[in-house]
């Protein structure tokens, strides 16, 4: 019951719309970002994830940040990675926790202010115990 109430408050708005309003004037466009997640995860406690952004990573044109958003986790913003021209490339791997099957979104903000996104659906067999259920 508690969980239902909690989730209903979280998943009302589509990811792109919410984030677009909160962080920039423009909505993120699809493209340039590639988010890799398994289609099926046995255990939501640790799901390998990789995000890659096409960018020359030069002083004039680079990825400033990549944010990872969850549709169902109690904390929607899972992580924000800050990069710069010193990175040389924009490709980050980590392991995430997922409170159930959901769509995960990655949004990259470029040095020119434009935003690009990709999302991936993950079927989670055993949810991470992040929402008390």
């Amino acid at each position: 019951m508690k969980r239902r109430g909690f989730l209903s408050g979280v998943v009302v708005l589509p990811v792109a719309g919410r984030v677009g309003k909160a962080f920039a004037q423009t909505e993120p466009k699809r493209g340039r970002v590639k988010l890799e997640l398994p289609v099926l995860a046995d255990n939501g406690n640790s799901v390998p994830m990789k995000v890659r952004v096409e960018s020359p990573m030069s002083e004039a044109d680079h990825v400033k940040s990549i944010r990872l958003l969850s549709e169902r986790n109690p904390e929607r913003e899972m992580a924000v990675f800050h990069l710069g021209p010193r990175a040389g490339a924009a490709e980050i791997s980590t392991r995430v926790r997922l409170a159930g099957s959901q769509v995960v979104t990655a949004i990259a903000e470029m040095s020119d202010g434009s935003q690009w996104m990709d999302s991936a659906h993950v079927q989670v067999t055993l949810s991470a115990c992040v929402d008390g259920s």
Binding site: N45, S46, V47, L68, S70, N73, P74, E75, E77, M78, A79, V80, F81, H82, L83, G84, R86, A87, G88, A89, A90, E91, I92, S93, T94, R95, V96, R97, L98, A128, C129, V130, D131, G132
Partner: protein
Amino acid sequence: MVARIRVPQDAKRGDVIRIAVLVQHPMETGYRLDADGKKVPKNVIRSLVCRYNGVEVFRAQLSPGIAANPFLEFPTIAAESGELEFTWVDDAGVRGSAKQAIAVA
């Protein structure tokens, strides 16, 4: 808190190399119950920074949405030989750091 850092052994100047770090930390979500049925307070690493010879090259803001013993792999340009220093802080205010030498040919 213990961390393991992986850097390539054969980096050449100008190469884009991949750095991996794994920090030992439970990343408590705040929803888990202990043996007595009480909630274990939330405690996750919020911020992790990597400096390459003193210059910040990577920074991450984390949340309970990152798995326990957070693992991160990211690229950086092998600029010169020296040291990578990682520092992080969790919700309890506990700070940790780890260093790794890097040799660039």
